[in-house]
């Protein structure tokens, strides 16, 4: 704490990583990818009762621009997979992905030729939410897991 005393009042020191991680983790804007019934629970997650705004995640853009967390809510079929991947590629880095519900995580009960058996076949998933459908608080939990993950990231500078 030596440097603060020489800077005087009105200053504090921190690491750039800590600062950016704090900012990023508290403004993880979702890109809602609502594909099936799970999407309804995702709406509740953003609504007043569960209130994702408490975590800085109320800004659902329905556009890849400036979104950070893609929430894949519902089952993914092969045709849709290409559209999802395209939107994912359009999201700016850094970005995170939640597979919401049994279907997005594993194909769920749709064990058939048309449905991709888990969206991690073509997306890098950070958090899986179990359940069919998962409750909105389970999705909040996944969001908090991602916040934890962001907070422990060494993203900006590496000690050399």
């Amino acid at each position: 704490m030596g440097i603060e005393s020489s800077l005087g009042d009105g200053y504090f020191t921190t690491k750039v990583d800590a600062l950016t991680n704090w900012a990023r983790s508290n403004a993880a804007w979702p890109m809602p990818m609502g594909l099936a019934c799970c999407a309804i629970e995702m709406m509740a997650f953003a609504g007043p009762k569960y209130d994702a705004a408490r975590f800085g995640s109320e800004v659902m853009r329905f556009s890849p621009r400036q979104s950070d967390v893609m929430i894949v809510a519902g089952w993914v079929n092969y045709k849709m997979a290409h559209a999802i991947r395209r939107i994912w590629d359009q999201m700016p880095d850094p970005k995170w992905c939640i597979a919401m519900g049994a279907c997005a995580s594993t194909g769920g009960m749709h064990r058939c030729y048309g449905v991709v058996q888990g969206c991690d076949n073509f997306l890098p998933v950070d958090a899986y939410v179990s359940g069919c459908p998962p409750r909105p608080d389970a999705l909040l939990h996944a969001l908090m897991k991602i916040q934890d993950k962001i907070r422990t990231e060494h993203s900006v500078m590496l000690d050399t």
């Binding site: 092969y78 045709k79 997979a81 290409h82 999802i84 991947r85 395209r86 590629d89 064990r111 058939c112 030729y113 048309g114 991709v116 058996q117 076949n121 073509f122 997306l123 890098p124």
Partner: protein, 170 residues
Amino acid sequence: MDLELSDTLKKVIDGLSDQFSDSFIEVYQSTGDTFVRVEADAVVDICKYLKSTHHFIYLNDLFGTDRFTSEERFEVVYNLISLRDRERLFLKVRLPEEDPRLESVADIWKSASWMEREVYDMFGVHFDNHPDFRRIFMPEDYEYHPMRKEFPLLGIPGSIELPSTTPDTE
């Protein structure tokens, strides 16, 4: 088997077996509905007749089944409704496994267009003179027909492409 037919359906069945005696195969009842099996090559004429003479103006459904038999493997079923007379009639045709082919009824009932595309997509039954003959659910270049009974439930690995996981770089 004795048939319990309403007066209107009796007229319809009698009319069919009179007018299309060469193509009329059988009529039976099951679970409260009446089924008429006919030859595949007469289906357009029969549909025209049923619509114009007996007021079956509503094609409720048109679907395929795979009987998985060595002969007459596929079946296409027309579920017809007369809204005026409150009657329902199922019309069935059977098709061979080798090159299953039927005449389209899309210019009799417009809704048949999409349903025939579905039967083609899922079972591989071709419909001649269809206005817009394409697959409807599966990708256009897909080689298989998923509702055929030999098709594995989980599909054939690698038969549909997944997106590339390396993003395009410019």
